[in-house]
Amino acid sequence: MSKPGPSSPQQRAPKGMRAKARPADRIFLGLSTGSAASIMVILAGVALFLIIQAVPAIMADWQNNPELNEGPTSGYANFWTYVGPLIFGTLFASAIALIIGAPIAIGIALFISHYAPRRLAGILGYLVDLLAAVPSIVFGLWGIIVIRPFLLPLSDWLNTYLGWIPFFGGTVSTTGSTILAGAVVLAVMILPIITSISREIFLQTPRLHEEAALALGATKWEMIKMAVFPYGRSGVISATLLGLGRALGETMAIALIISPAILVSVRMLTEGENSQTIAANIALNFPIATTLQREALIGTGLLLFVISLAVNMLARIIAGRAGKSALKKRKKMLAQLPPSDPSTVLAVDDVLAGRATAAQATTGAAAAIDGDETETSKEEREGNDA
């Protein structure tokens, strides 16, 4: 564009027309640039701290080191046999929490966005957000006093009738201090994250899509299946993985509720066979750890850091792929529709025209989740143009 006019605000105005930068502008620019840079510095600093502190313990000879052979780190051949079960426990507890929590969270989000009367939806949304404000230590105490005894009858039932499934086998707990109880509380803790992001995404489904589906004779559920879910899929997956990130790092609730052991076990209802998680293990053993033991614990923290990084990257990859494939599928579906009926053609045109709005809406939603604004919108637009 050779002549940038006032109609394109993104374009820079010519030098003479630009407002003169005042000191306040420069100060704010400096502050915000500094803030942005500090994230990088902090992240790099944390990674560096973890690596530097962890290396002595990772490299140590665990079998012959007297310091590592007492207390919480005794009895392991090397760092990896110590951290292995912890990684398993972390992923296992989070996975159960996700299996319990994610469907409920998505259900709540859908109810708020598409079923509830407006006033009820407002109240529900507020309540879900309130859940996010409860400190995890309170969740932990609630887990000990309420959830543990509450789950005991269920545990007994599962163990008696479904004990042949490895998950429900073993000697059932009498105190309720099981990984199941911990995962149920974790599921409640990740509800707000998944619900609020999914709700935003569902709300941004273009009216045109929904109305087109309804006009084609779809019931409400069919409309949700055809219009809302495909549109929101990538966002919901991202929301779920963010919930997983929260579950992976949860510490106090797990440390308080679960009776841990450092071993690999899929049993969910026992007292002594609950796989310990990394974060809870650090919290429980840090106060008494000697120098090298602390370094070993920091080493496990480094691996949690790596796992969280991997989960976030996975979330991005899945979100990106799901977005693309959903778009392809929709276009294929639309292309297969017979163009004979003028109303169908009209509807298809509407839907296609709706894509442009949809692309923008997705962009907004994606920005809310992971901020990859330009990339997503570009993909969407390219797909749309093709």
Binding site: I39, F49, T175, A279, L284, F286, A289
Partner: protein
């Protein structure tokens, strides 16, 4: 730019880092403004002349006693502020003290050899003193419907906690309790999931009295999988209380309204309930001062097999205050010394016994502590 994504990871990492670095308490000496009058004799403290701040932390076992001592001490010495951080645990307390953040550390175990070496960097060639100022007992608590009075021999305790006995009507328990009807409820042992000085004391007791049954090395982490492992003494107490057929161990001062078992003394037929007097007698009978090579050091070693009299409780628990013989800041040294002298005085011990459920340290040990404190400057 995937900035926000990075940010999400970063914030998670930051939380982890904050959790990790929470031990690096700023602490520091808030040097006293006017120098206190030197108090040479320990029991006579000139409270009015003292001012400043003492920063300390460590063992949670002695936290209630510390709170009671601090309240009583600062009620008289108006110019003094004392902070005791119990969230650190014994290990964290010693680590922070060695780093110079604390004036004294509270610890359930005396300094280890390498820590003694490290302490000379902080305290100079005079080293550091382990002063046994807190005495309590490890209580074996249980919750079993219909049973309110239970005797347990050391062998039975060792078998229960090593999971060799799994039901309450086991012949070994019945033999300890003639005439008591025991239900067939399965036993759930409740232990500590976090490292603890209480665990150290209890596993020491088990491995000394029943080495053939309890074959695990003593330590601050519970060595056997298969128990219900809970965080903190309160976690153990709550879980024992909530379950049926549960048995656990905890500092006696923390057990609340739970019933504690009567524990067999030695190998005889006497079963003793915890009492402050019993713990003091056990201290007299079993604790001997270890020679650590540091002048005035009073680190104790308990020989649990030496507790054989019916007037002694078999599982005493000792906790220490650890401080330098030479403080970098002389006034701070005098202030800390005044507080520790008060704690190790007859009055201080009565306060912890009355307000924190502890047992008083025997008088001859208090006299030895007073002598050792004269080395502090």
């Amino acid at each position: 730019m995937k900035l926000k994504n990075v940010a999400a990871v970063g914030s998670l990492a930051l939380v982890t880092a904050l959790a990790l670095s929470s031990c690096a308490s700023s602490g520091g000496d808030a040097g006293s403004t006017d120098s206190a009058t030197p108090t040479s004799a320990a029991p006579t403290i000139d409270f009015a002349s003292l001012s400043g701040t003492i920063t300390a932390g460590g063992s949670s076992a002695q936290a209630n006693a510390e709170a009671a001592w601090i309240t009583a001490f600062t009620a008289q010495a108006k110019g003094v502020t004392i902070n005791y951080d119990k969230s650190q645990g014994s290990g964290g307390g010693v680590t922070n003290w060695l780093a110079g953040s604390y004036d004294f550390a509270g610890s359930d175990s005396p300094l280890k050899d390498d820590q003694i070496t490290q302490s000379q960097t902080l305290c100079g060639p005079g080293g550091a003193l382990n002063l046994p100022v807190y005495l309590d007992g490890v209580a074996v608590i249980y919750n079993l419907a219909g049973v309110t009075d239970l005797n347990l021999s050391s062998a039975t305790i060792a078998k229960i906690f090593s999971l060799q006995i799994t039901t309450w009507n086991d012949p070994a328990i019945a033999a300890d309790n003639p005439g008591v009807t025991l239900p067939s409820t399965p036993i759930t042992t409740v232990t500590r999931s976090d490292g603890s000085g209480t665990t150290t004391n209890f596993t020491n007791y088990l491995s000394q009295t029943q080495p053939s049954i309890w074959t695990n090395a003593p330590g601050n982490a519970w060595p056997i999988a298969g128990s219900s492992a809970q965080q903190g003494g309160s976690g153990v107490v709550n879980t024992v209380k909530a379950g049926d057929g549960t048995i656990g161990y905890a500092d006696h001062s923390a057990i609340g309204d739970l019933t504690a078992a009567n524990v067999q003394v030695g190998t005889g037929t006497d079963f003793v309930a915890f009492s402050a007097e019993g713990a003091s007698n056990a201290f007299t009978a079993a604790a001997t001062t270890v020679d650590t090579g540091v002048e005035g050091d009073l680190a104790q070693k308990i020989d649990y097999t030496a507790i054989t009299d019916a007037d002694a409780y078999p599982i005493p628990l000792i906790s220490y205050q650890i401080l330098c013989t030479t403080f970098a800041d002389e006034a701070q040294g005098e202030l800390t010394k005044a507080f520790v002298s008060y704690v190790a005085s007859d009055q201080g011990q009565q306060i912890s016994a009355k307000n924190a459920g502890a047992a008083p340290i025997p008088a001859d040990m208090l006299a030895q502590i007073a002598t050792s404190l004269e080395l502090v400057k």
